[in-house]
């Protein structure tokens, strides 16, 4: 599989998204699960704590009014007056106030219904008033004086004596005792006692009230029944673990009955677990325990009980297992949904992006692909698509504009895509510039060089080049104008090897100078200077060359004719009168050699009889052994010339092996012209001229003549 598939943006984004979401969801799931697990545990703790808290509130609510009631009753005016008068021994007043107080006290007990007994005890521990309430009959009554007991030595009397005004002694919850015997049937009570202290800060008595503890135990009984399904159990214990309340009634009142159960033994050591805490929730042996310290009176922090709830952990956290399953399904669903959504959404994003990419890629290679990209969302991708569409349209327009400009059509108006359309503005500026340059060029093309163009900047190479071109053309124009005026004495500094016009001007100047020189030379009959035509089209040059050649030829011909005529004449003049052929021949060879300016010459005279040619005369000729003084017809060059009666012209004789022997030298002359001497068709002899210079046709013609 192609690796690029995995590295495509779509897959990258998808994998990143999915990875991130997967990680995120996994983290969230992990965190959520842990948090939930903790939350469930906390919730279980909370519920346990709440249940004990509720019990605490309910119990304390029940107990809350007791201190107030105790204070309220103990602060009865009548009670105080009764105690005052009784202590002062004013029996009449004491009795009156006792009656008033007693009536109020009985009414109070009947109204409250939660108090078993209310007593006023003097400093010697004697009950001076004792009222009792029977919950069953809803009757309150005073105990007769003969039933009053001495309670000296009891905690609620002796400890209350040590308290300050407004403080309470609260006994532990226990069974009521009458005459030192536990009252039957059991009557659980809590005794609240408070010192009665007058405004002189004198202790004048103790007020004691016995709360029916059944009310408290009923609260726990009800809670136990309500939470029976949850298998939650409740305990109310003293700080030594003695049960006030246990589902099993036989376990209650252990500390008083010396039998039953103790929380410390049945569960754990209270002191170690609870320490000084007022409340707490913890797990102990797969049970969630929640405890709350209960103060029968907030003002008395030394007196407290514990209300404890206990529930099996597996029951408390049963909901957590359901949560685990549901939570896992939710997480998987979320992941799946995320997968689908991400896939769909990325595809939705990537498709137009791919199309944009394709279009941009094509654009980067100069191709415009106008494909409709379907993307209707008004978001960033929509912006990209829209911008790409605009970009391509703009570039297309720009291309059209550029094409028009390139084709020289500057007439098209360029529409700006926006106020910040830099390309459009550049095109407008470029078109404007090109128009300007075109106008300039048009003027220049009409030979109007008196134009100006200003360079836009030192980087405006076209402008600068045009300025240079105008300068150049002006220079060229001035030069050509000067030339046109016949003044070719002008100078021009070529711009370089590529300055063809300049070079041409220079060549033209040179050409014209050469023509001028040529003309001047011709005018001075000097045909030595040769002008070369520049080309086949150089008609002037060709004409001048032709004219020069013609003039030179005419001049040469005239000279040759004169030379020839003069030579003939001189030859005729000098050779007449000689009868001796040998002298004549000698004179002739000498004259001929001198006139033609050859190095040496010989003349062989034909001996018709012997058909042999014999050396008769020579000029600057040296005999040598290898050179013969006579030749038979057809022998050697001389014999061959004589035989054919035709001249032989030898040139560039270099090869040593050449067998042909010259008559004059063994050296190799440049040219050797051997020609017959014929008179009236008769062979008279053969002359051979050797020259180290080239012999012209004129020379040859002269010699032949």
């Amino acid at each position: 599989m192609n690796l690029s598939f995995f590295f495509s943006l779509q897959n990258k984004i998808f994998f990143i998204f999915f990875f991130v979401i997967f990680i995120s969801i996994s983290l969230v799931a992990w965190y959520g699960f842990n948090s939930t697990e903790k939350a469930y545990l906390n919730s279980a703790f909370e519920l346990s704590a709440q249940s004990t808290k509720s019990l605490e509130i309910e119990i304390e609510e029940t107990l809350k009014s007791v201190p107030k009631d105790v204070l309220f009753v103990s602060d009865f005016y009548a009670l105080k007056r009764f105690i005052i008068w009784q202590s002062m021994g004013v029996n009449k007043q004491a009795k009156e106030w006792k009656e008033i107080f007693s009536e109020s006290l009985l009414g109070f007990l009947k109204t409250k219904k939660s108090y078993y007994k209310a007593r006023v005890i003097d400093l010697e521990g004697n009950e001076i008033i004792s009222a009792r309430y029977n919950g069953n009959s809803n009757k309150a009554f005073l105990l007769p004086d003969n039933k009053l007991q001495n309670k000296q030595g009891r905690d609620y009397v002796e400890k209350a004596k040590l308290l300050k005004k407004g403080q309470f002694y609260i006994s532990t919850m226990n069974l009521n005792i009458e005459n030192n015997e536990i009252e039957m049937p059991y009557v659980p009570v809590v005794r609240y006692s408070t010192p009665m202290i007058n405004e002189n800060n004198e202790l004048i008595g103790i007020f004691v009230i016995n709360l029916y503890a059944d009310k408290i135990l009923e609260i726990l009984e009800r809670a136990t029944l309500e939470d029976k399904d949850k298998q939650k159990v409740y305990f109310l214990i003293d700080n030594f673990g003695g049960y006030f309340f246990h589902q099993d009634v036989n376990k209650r009142w252990n500390s008083q009955l010396k039998q039953g159960g103790n929380f410390n033994k049945d569960h754990f050591d209270l002191a170690k677990k609870f320490k000084d805490k007022h409340h707490g929730v913890f797990i102990h042996q797969s049970n969630i325990y929640s405890f709350k310290k209960i103060h029968p009176s907030k003002e008395n922090q030394d007196s407290y009980w514990y209300v404890i709830s206990s529930v099996d952990t597996s029951i408390a956290l049963s909901e957590l297992q359901n949560f685990e399953l549901i939570f896992s399904l939710i997480v998987l669903s979320v992941l799946l949904l995320s997968f689908i959504l991400i896939r769909f959404y990325i595809a939705k994003i990537i498709k137009p992006l791919n199309q944009v990419t394709t279009q941009l890629k094509a654009l980067s290679s100069g191709e415009i692909r106008k494909e409709v990209i379907k993307y209707s969302q008004d978001d960033e991708i929509g912006e990209i698509v829209s911008s790409t569409r605009k970009l391509i349209n703009a570039i297309e327009i720009t291309i059209d504009q550029a094409n028009a400009v390139a084709s020289g059509d500057f007439s098209q108006e360029i529409k700006l895509l926006g106020t910040h359309d830099q390309l459009g503005n550049a095109l407008i500026n470029m078109t404007k510039r090109l128009k300007e340059i075109t106008s300039l060029a048009q003027k220049l093309s009409t030979g109007h060089y008196d134009v100006k163009i200003v360079a836009k900047s030192n980087k405006d190479q076209l402008g600068l080049a045009l300025i240079e071109m105008i300068k150049y053309l002006e220079t060229i124009g001035q030069i050509t104008e000067s030339i046109a005026m016949g003044n070719i004495d002008v100078s021009y500094q070529s711009k370089g090897s590529n300055d063809r016009l300049g070079q041409a001007i220079l060549q033209m100047i040179q050409y014209l100078n050469s023509v001028l020189n040529q003309a001047n030379a011709i005018s001075k009959q000097d045909f030595s200077h040769a002008i070369e035509a520049k080309s086949k089209d150089d008609e002037l040059g060709i004409a001048l060359v032709t004219m020069t050649d013609m003039l030179r030829e005419n001049s040469i011909k005239n000279k040759d004719d004169a030379w020839f005529s003069h030579g003939i004449a001189e030859f005729s003049d000098n050779l007449s009168g000689y009868d001796d052929i040998s002298h004549l021949a000698k004179r002739a060879v000498t004259m001929a050699c001198r006139y033609v300016n050859v190095s040496s010459g010989v003349i062989y005279i034909y001996d018709k009889a012997k058909e042999q040619l014999n050396l008769i005369a020579s000029y600057a000729f040296v005999n040598r052994e290898n050179l013969s003084d006579f030749y038979k017809l057809g022998e050697g060059i001389v014999g061959q010339v004589a035989l054919e009666k035709k001249a032989i012209f030898l040139r560039n004789i270099k090869d040593k092996g050449f067998e042909i022997q010259s008559a004059t030298t063994l050296a190799k002359p440049k040219e050797v012209f051997t020609f017959p001497i014929i008179h009236e068709g008769e062979l008279l002899g053969v002359a051979e001229m050797m020259s180290y210079e080239s012999l012209t046709a004129l020379h040859k013609d002269y010699l032949l003549k």
């Binding site: 005016y77 105080k80 005052i84 002062m88 021994g89 009449k92 405004e199 002189n200």
Partner: protein, 321 residues
Amino acid sequence: MSYFSITYHSFLILLVSISMNFLVVIEKTQAQTSVKQITPNDVYAQVMLISDELHFLLNYFNLEHDHEGIIKRYHIQTLLKPRITWQKTYEIMIKINILRSSHQLPIIEPVNMEPVLQLNPDMVYEQTQRILTEIRIFKFRQNIHSQGFELKTFSNKTPLDVYNALAHISVSFDELNRSGFTPSYVFGETMRIYNDLSTILQHLGIQDKTIPSTRNDQATPNDTFDIAMKILNRIKLIQVKVGIEVVDFSVFVKKSMTSSDVFTMSQMIIAELQTIKAYFGLKNYITPAASRYTNKTPADVDQLMNWNLRKLSLIYNLGER
């Protein structure tokens, strides 16, 4: 008719008018003559009769006494009010009860003073009449016969003279009874003060949360007397505030006090409280007689007297507010 002329008619009117005026004058004259005018001289004369009777009884019971000395000893100089003198008669009436009780006679309910701002001095005279009558009843019941004592005539006697005479009679009764007031009697009178003060407080709607002071088992009559003086001073301040004429009780201060002295001061307090009661509109509330208490100690009296002082402070503080 000439009988109905204006002149005749005017004459008749004038005649009727004169007749009416005459009748009014006659009426007034008759009324004035029907009420006996009691003077301090009359009261003093009556007190002297009591003194004579008492003197007789002391002699009768062979009880030696320094009659003159007592007079000198209890002779005070101050500006007293009839209510104070009247209260002294009440004290004597209590002592008569003691006398009766000691002679196996039933006690009698003493007459109590009506709360008034200014006690009519005649009421003191009436009290002396009652005392005199009670003494004669006692003599009758005890079958003691004596010659009649002659009512003497005195002049230039003042209410203070009456008081001082009553005071020495009271002391003489102690000699006759062979004892002064016990703390129990004083406690009874202090309870009367308590009741009066409670009544005033209740009437004024003042919440009374006062309690007795801490019991001082070492309390003496001197201590209680001091408290009583404080109460009187506090009452005086109240009286000054409300415009009641006050009495200077500083003349009663002595170095050594007995329960009888405290009893006397309790009587002064009760007398002064009547003006307060009258001022606050409690004119119909007559302080009931004292109950009988037994085995009371000066400490009991002191504690109760202190309580009374606290109660009185509530009334005084109300005035302050």
